[in-house]
């Protein structure tokens, strides 16, 4: 029902359709042949090329791998990173925000001080430091953890602000006076109002995490043996794809990143417009 309402919002609709297209594209990774990753098994005496062959529909890289299969696997892995980070960070944000807003006092001050500090410190240098030190143990999931270190701060601020305005409302006060436990008030009275924002935060965190991973990858600090959208760009740049004119190697990840970001951004905009009608028509 909510979804039907949401889909009426143009921004959400466009974003959702784009996302579905990308997910379908990414799901082709299931069909990728097992040898696509093992570049040492592929013939390397052939120059990188574009061909009409279905397997090499987007051409090959300079060591004979199919760009198409790299791309679909990159989409899959980037989404895993994004979703993993969002699962951790946005839920930490939700919890910390609820606690800070509900408890107030010292707890609130401490949580907010931490959140403010993290918002002010530029995130990328911090990620670079963390990634450099964790280089030996980098996996898709540790990248998610690294990005989570800072991405809980915005959701926390937002959820706290919402909670603080909600606990002043009459229905919460009524619930409190009628003897409801704090836990129950949070779950049944406050949570339904926050859920929409939480969803928007979740989408934003997915976007942010995919972006941060690719930033790290451009610097060569991501998991370079796995295919993500970032590492795809990194290897293309490392093998001089721009200098050699191997456009088909660079263009697909760039286009897919732009599409993913636009679609997720539009979805989160659509959700916030749905919850907050004052933002509509702008």
């Amino acid at each position: 029902m909510i979804f039907l309402n949401l889909i009426r919002n143009t921004k959400f609709r466009v974003g959702f359709i784009l996302l579905v297209i990308i997910v379908i594209l990414g799901s082709f990774s299931v069909y990728s042949p097992p040898y696509y990753k093992q570049w040492y098994r592929l013939p390397i005496d052939q120059p990188p090329r574009l061909s009409a062959d279905l397997q090499y529909i987007l051409g090959t890289t300079s060591n004979g791998r199919s760009v198409f299969y790299i791309l679909v696997n990159a989409i899959k892995n980037s989404f895993i990173i994004g979703l993993f980070t969002a699962l951790i960070a946005s839920h930490i944000g939700l919890l910390a925000g609820l606690v800070a807003g509900f408890r107030g006092g010292v707890v609130d001050k401490t949580i907010m001080l931490l959140a403010d500090v993290i918002i002010v410190i530029p995130a990328l240098p911090l990620y670079i430091l963390l990634a450099m030190f964790l280089r030996k143990v980098l996996t898709i999931y540790t990248i998610g953890l690294i990005v989570s270190v800072t991405s809980w701060a915005w959701p926390t601020r937002q959820v706290r602000a919402l909670t603080m305005s909600l606990i002043e409302r009459e229905f919460v006060i009524t619930a409190k006076l009628s003897g409801m436990s704090s836990m129950k008030i949070i779950v049944s009275e406050i949570f339904p109002y926050i859920l929409g924002w939480h969803l928007a935060n979740f989408t934003n965190t997915v976007l942010y995490a995919i972006g941060s991973e690719s930033s790290l990858a451009v610097l060569g600090l991501s998991i370079l043996h796995e295919d993500t959208l970032g590492t795809m760009i990194y290897w293309a740049l490392q093998y001089g794809a721009l200098y050699r004119g191997l456009v088909w190697w660079v263009v697909p990840p760039v286009i897919v990143i732009i599409l993913i970001f636009t679609s997720l951004y539009l979805i989160s905009l659509g959700i916030s417009e749905y919850i907050n009608p004052r933002l509509r028509s702008r």
């Binding site: 931490l114 410190i121 911090l126 930033s215 451009v218 760009i233 721009l242 760039v254 732009i258 636009t262």
Partner: protein, 326 residues
């Protein structure tokens, strides 16, 4: 605000303490392996080891370690770099800093001005005369808003280096030197146009345009604005005194929030375009495993950006008469 910087630095300190690899030996072995062909003076290597131990806070008790670490920060002494041994890290930073600051301040300022003016003026015209320019720009802005700088940089390289070859390939033309000769300045401009553009396009249209448009739409529905219109004030006065002034004030806070992101973005753009700057130093430090240099550049930049944000916060009440401290 000083708490922020303090916590940022303590955080870095803790990070170094719990590092999962023995960085000092790692750095030294890497350095020795990297220069195996030449004879290394053992005394020099010992000195390097000592300064690294001190830098990473591995000497003395925890409190002592922490204090030395702070001292190193305030004296800007980050020890020797590995990638250009034995040049001190500070020397490398000094060479790179003007380029980064130049690129950063130019792009931030230009995009702030362009984005805000464009946002206000197109929205005003849209509301007054019903033109569709603002709608179209808004559509473009929504696509640009979440796009990272380095993606824009790649798009620009593909467009203006590969398909329409007007600009040189990134890195072509060798090292840039800060000399004031006509040819040198031309080559600097040629090398810096695309990087600057990739930052300006995203910041101006993606961020400043969207937020100034939202603010303008809010102001246009305010009573005092309608009153000004009814009084028959000319468009230029209404625009300048009633809309623009109010928007620019709130946009200064926004500028403070943007700084960190623009800085991180500029680092990556520099890397992609192989410009001399902090980004390229970090890139080289990462690729040579030079934790020493990376630590110096990164902690310094974290502190610099936090400080800049703080300064903007301080300047804010001077510009905005409504929040003057009493």
């Amino acid at each position: 605000m000083f708490a922020t910087i303090f916590i940022a630095y303590s955080f870095t300190f803790l990070l170094l303490k719990f590092m999962p690899l023995d960085a000092v030996e790692f750095i030294i072995s890497q350095y020795i392996a990297g220069s195996a062909a030449t004879y290394q003076d053992p005394a020099v290597i010992n000195e390097l080891r000592q300064s690294l131990y001190e830098l990473f806070g591995l000497k003395g008790t925890l409190l002592e370690q922490y204090i030395t670490f702070l001292k190193r920060l305030f004296t800007f002494d980050f020890g020797p770099s590995i990638l250009a041994f034995p040049t001190p890290v500070m020397e490398l930073i000094k060479r790179a800093l003007p380029w980064t600051i130049g690129l950063l301040s130019f792009t931030t300022l230009v995009s702030w001005i362009i984005g805000n003016l464009l946002g206000v003026i197109t929205t005003y015209i849209e509301v007054e005369r019903g033109s569709r320019v603002a709608k179209i720009l808004q559509g473009i802005a929504l696509t640009l808003r979440p796009t990272p700088y380095y993606i824009m940089a790649l798009v620009l390289i593909l467009l203006f280096v590969y398909f329409i070859p007007i600009f040189p390939l990134p890195g072509a033309g060798g090292m840039l030197t800060p000399e004031f000769s006509f040819e040198n300045i031309i080559s600097i401009i040629r090398r810096f146009t695309l990087p600057a553009l990739s930052i300006i396009i995203i910041t101006a249209f993606g961020w400043n345009y969207i937020s100034s448009r939202t603010l303008a739409l809010n102001i246009i529905s305010e009573d005092y604005f309608i009153y000004a219109e009814l009084r028959g004030l000319p468009d230029s006065v209404v625009l300048k005194r009633y809309v623009l002034r109010n928007i620019l004030i709130s946009q200064i806070t926004f500028l403070a929030l943007q700084l960190g992101t623009i800085f991180s973005g500029a680092l990556l753009v520099e890397t992609i375009f192989a410009l001399p700057g902090l980004g390229t130093i970090i890139y080289r430090a990462i690729n040579t495993g030079d934790i020493n240099t990376a630590l110096g550049v990164l902690s310094l930049s974290m502190i610099a950006v936090s400080l800049a944000t703080f300064v903007i916060d301080l300047v804010y009440p001077i510009i905005d008469p409504r929040v003057r401290f009493r």
